[in-house]
């Protein structure tokens, strides 16, 4: 009896597998989505085969930071347009690799293509900034009352992460925060940073290098950095934005940098940062959008089409002039090919068009829509992308 039961169980598992295989080959249509609109899922091969009704699925992969916003966009687009858009958060580098190897249709990256890569793919790849991201400097000093803000200048932040400012009652911190004199005790600063490689670290170090080039030298700029504070002071790493968030929340007298959405959603205390005009500014919708607008008006040369070289844009966006500009802002880019198979090109164009019109009205907490100036540049993609 028992023996038979085992045999049956084993056979059952194999049958299960076989059924799965058979099921898989008979692709079937998706049932109605919960919202009541009807997306029809059709199978389509990545870049080669055509599909019957001309309906396609668009797939993308890349930056983890962009993932929630892409999930939001992809769902809304799928529901309203009937073209399935999928996004996978694997990180900027992996996403770019998948894009270049034609595993996905578009890539997403926190950093634009480097000069070298840009030259390599010149004229074939489009870079389209879709949202503004911003980095919040967060801290955990239990003594500071809720209604007051710590203000830090770029120099001070750089010195803290260099390990040269070690205590919260350091003169250089106090001079910017005279009103907090009684709250900033002689506690040692724990400088929290990302331990994994990330666009957040990239943007943060670009900012430090731009405002304090003598303190934060060029060799300390990058997606992973050999943190000086780890060696000479209390520096620790956290994996991912959530890791840094967690460490800051549980470690008194710590400071960290995270993407704005993590700071907002976890209700972390955010420092005001001293901008180019000397004002202490907290990150919010107005100050961040203002920063991008005034950077574009500042007379610096920005790219004019998605086919241009965007490699120095992050640097140009930092520390923008203007009383109301938050100094640490960045773009997140989507990468597209110039040429797609015919049946795909139309869908891709429509998606880009949607992202730069309706989609910009559907950004979520922590992600800010790009200003009109940039959308105009992006929409030139519609003339550039072609089917073959």
């Amino acid at each position: 009896m028992e023996k038979r039961a085992v045999t049956l169980a084993v056979i059952g598992l194999f049958v299960l597998a076989a059924v799965a295989v058979v099921l898989g080959f008979i692709s079937f249509k998706t049932p109605e989505a919960p919202s009541g609109t009807k997306p029809e899922v059709m199978s389509s091969t990545a870049t080669t085969s055509a599909t019957s009704a001309g309906k396609v699925a668009i797939s993308g992969a890349g930056a983890t930071f962009l993932a929630p916003q892409m999930f939001e966009w992809a769902r809304i687009y799928t529901q309203t347009k009937g073209v399935v858009v999928e996004y996978q958060s694997v990180g900027s580098g992996a996403g770019r690799d998948m894009f270049f190897r034609n595993v996905t249709h578009f890539g997403a990256s926190d950093v634009p293509l480097s000069k070298e890569l840009y030259e390599k793919y010149r004229g074939r790849v489009l870079q389209i900034p879709v949202v503004i991201g911003s980095i919040a400097i967060v801290y955990n000093i239990p003594e500071i009352p809720e209604n007051t803000n710590l203000c830090l200048s770029g120099d001070v932040i750089a010195l803290i992460y260099k390990g040269e400012i070690k205590r919260w009652d350091d003169e250089r911190i106090l001079s910017d925060n005279p009103s907090l004199k009684n709250y900033l005790l002689g506690k040692e600063i724990v400088a929290v940073h990302r331990s994994d490689s990330s666009g957040t670290t990239g943007a943060f170090t670009i900012y430090l290098n731009k405002v304090a080039p003598n303190i934060w030298t060029k060799d300390l700029v990058g997606l992973t950095v050999d943190w000086p504070a780890d060696k000479v002071a209390k520096g620790v790493g956290g994996k991912g934005n959530e890791g840094v968030t967690q460490v800051v929340q549980t470690t008194p007298y710590s400071i960290g940098y995270v993407e704005l959405n993590y700071a907002l959603l976890n209700k972390l205390r955010m420092a005001a940062v001293k901008n180019a005009d000397g004002y202490c500014v907290v990150p919010n919708e107005t100050t961040i959008v203002n920063a991008v607008k005034s950077a574009f008006k500042s007379g610096l040369a920005f790219p004019q089409t998605p086919l241009d070289d965007w490699s120095d844009v992050p640097q140009k966006l930092m520390n923008a002039p203007g009383r109301d500009s938050y100094p640490i802002v960045s773009f997140s880019f989507l990468l597209f090919w110039r040429e797609y198979p015919k049946e795909l090109a139309g869908a891709i164009k429509d998606f880009i068009n949607w992202l730069n019109t309706e989609g910009q009205g559907k950004t979520i907490v922590g992600y800010l829509p790009i200003p009109e100036e940039v959308r105009e540049i992006n929409l030139k993609a519609l003339q550039i992308i072609e089917g073959r």
């Binding site: 598992l13 080959f25 079937f28 919960p34 091969t45 929630p68 996978q88 959603l265």
Partner: protein, 286 residues
Amino acid sequence: MSELRYLRLRKLKNALMLTLMLTLAFLTFLPLLLIIGSITLEGIKVLLKAGVSFFASLPPKPTDVSLGGIAPALIGSLISSSIALSIAASIAFISAFLTTEFPNNVISRVVEVVFRSFSGIPSLAVGMFVYSTVVVFMRTQSLIAGAVALSIVGMPYAYVYFTSALRSIPEEYREAAMSLGMSRLKALRYVYLGISRKYLLSGLLITFAKIIGDTAPLLFTIGFVTNAYFMGLDKPSNALPLLIFIYALSPYEIYHSVALGAAFILLVTLIALFEIAHAVVKEVRL
């Protein structure tokens, strides 16, 4: 007199050792109980809130209020793990049979070393390997690619548990079978399978559990589909652990809830699997 003292000492040592061992064994289970407890508590809350549709709908958007569901991940996980299990288990079982039946053969030893060393490849590297071969070749991530990656990861587990099951057969039975003039295959079918079936089945289930619960090999191979239920075996899909991993690390409360609900379902599935196994196969009497 001294003999009595000696006996007492022995008893004392015996008691001490037993307590120590039981404590250690209990300590080992403490984390398990904690994990199960906290996930059950939180998971049930989520499930109550989401209702039955948790099994049948698509995951929510970050801005949604209702929890949605995890259907694409459930479907993807079931299909990919079943395929992976059938590949991994059949290769592992045949190899286990070979190495236990011919233990002194050079080839058996090589096979054994190779199988056990598989576990040394970081599962992420397995994912990278499948990505740079299968995925790039197919020009898309797919359920199949995910299943291949999972089967490579599952193979050493299946192998270890299968060999350990086959080796747990007392030598007396082996000799008895042989002396009856049974061929090795017949002995396997009529004698070994019967004796070791409990271990075999538990090995099979643990392998399945390993496969269905592994994240890293899927990261670059299976895709992350949240807007469609199922698109085909050669198309991207989703998986439960992947969904848990990605959602747990996102900043959105709603994703944390979905991740907890998914973790609870995964855990319940695993425990149910083991329960069924133990109910089907009762303890073998020797």
